[in-house]
Amino acid sequence: MLSDASTIVQLASYGGAGLCIGLGAIGAALGEGYTAGLANEGLSQKPEQSGDILKNMLVGQAVAESAAIFALVIAILLLFLDAPTTSLLKAAALLGAGLSMGFGAIGSGIGSGFPGGEACLGMARQPAIIGKLTTNMLIGSAVCQTPAIFSMVVALMLMFMDFGNLPLSPTWAAFLGAGISTGLAAIGSGLGGGMAAGASCGGIARNPDTFGQVTTTMLVGQAVSQTPSIFGLLISFVLMFKAFPETVALSASMALLGAGISMGFGGIGPGIGNGLTAEGAVKWVARNIDAAGSLTRTMLVGQAVSQSTAIYAMVVSLVLIFVV
């Protein structure tokens, strides 16, 4: 039997590390593959651009890789962490940290691949604006990494904060919920931000004069796409910092776990949806810059509606935490 606490803490720590890098490796690998695929497509069109395209591909892939590197860092920390306490609460916090970073790296990894690939393809089409394409790619993919950074922040806080003498039940569920909330919500925002950034690199390659307007629209669209992951982060912070009264009731724990699950899954769809809307808007600002005002307005209205389900999820989470 797993009777002593330190065994269970180790179990959670190793399990969390495995989940962290296992899940965390999915996104970056997919994103980098996408970038390399479009780089090859570009090379087949313009083999004489091979130097620039290859360089850009590697830079783009390096940014996408960073999501997986965050996950690797957290996994290694979890493996070699000398847990300061051996309380069972620490076990829940470590497992939550692994889940947060593991899920959180998926969206950013895939999302960062889109601008990388489109920039490589764009270089084959418009060799004259290589600098602009790389700049735009880097801005766009940096924003894509934000959700992964949120996840890493939550993971590090769960691992290293001193939670004092909080009661095991229901705080264990709050810590697991905190990891799930930010981790899952980051998937949508990472993907969504990537769609907007990819469309903007493609758009600039098609019509280089629109560089300024396209980048602005991309950033506005990406900012809205990040909202679900910010909601996720908010719910995680509430779950981590609110002191819950001790209770043996299972229902109190399940309410907190449910709050994390609601906000986490609930953030995925709106994040992707906001990205799809931003993708359409950015793409068409580049093709028809005269309609930029109307497009930005429509994008924001469309995103606001798409955001509503994330707000429902947040409301349900807050009710689960504060009301029931």
Binding site: G192, P228, A249, L250, S251, S253, M254, A255, L257, G258, A259, G260, I261, S262, M263, G264, F265, G266, G267, I268, G269, P270, G271, I272, G273, N274, G275, L276, T277, A278, G280, A281, K283, W284, V285, R287, N288, D290, A291, S294, L295, T298, M299, V301, G302, Q303, V305, S306, Q307, S308, T309, A310, Y312, A313, V315, V316, V319, L320, V323, V324
Partner: protein, 82 residues
């Protein structure tokens, strides 16, 4: 630790509410975003029809929203009624 029947039912209802709203929000979020993207595409092609297109987008999104509202209703029922 003895878990009583009422507590177990409440626990399942709370977890169920989280799962219902969480998973239920995925579809409408993606669907409404897709509508928004296509509306932007259409406005880019025909800016003079922006009013009609925005209206159509909102109607389409409202229909797509319905399943999200079903999830919300089920979640609230699980929280406060069951």
């Amino acid at each position: 630790m003895a878990i009583e029947g009422v507590d177990l039912i409440k626990a399942a209802a709370f977890l169920g509410a989280g799962i219902a709203m969480g998973l239920g929000a995925i579809g409408p979020g993606v669907g409404e975003g897709f509508v928004g993207g296509k509306a932007c595409e259409a406005i880019g092609r025909k800016p003079e029809e922006a009013g009609l297109l925005t209206r159509t987008m909102l109607v389409g999104q409202a229909v797509s929203e319905s399943t999200g509202i079903y999830s919300l209703v089920v979640a609230l029922l699980l929280l406060f009624v069951v």
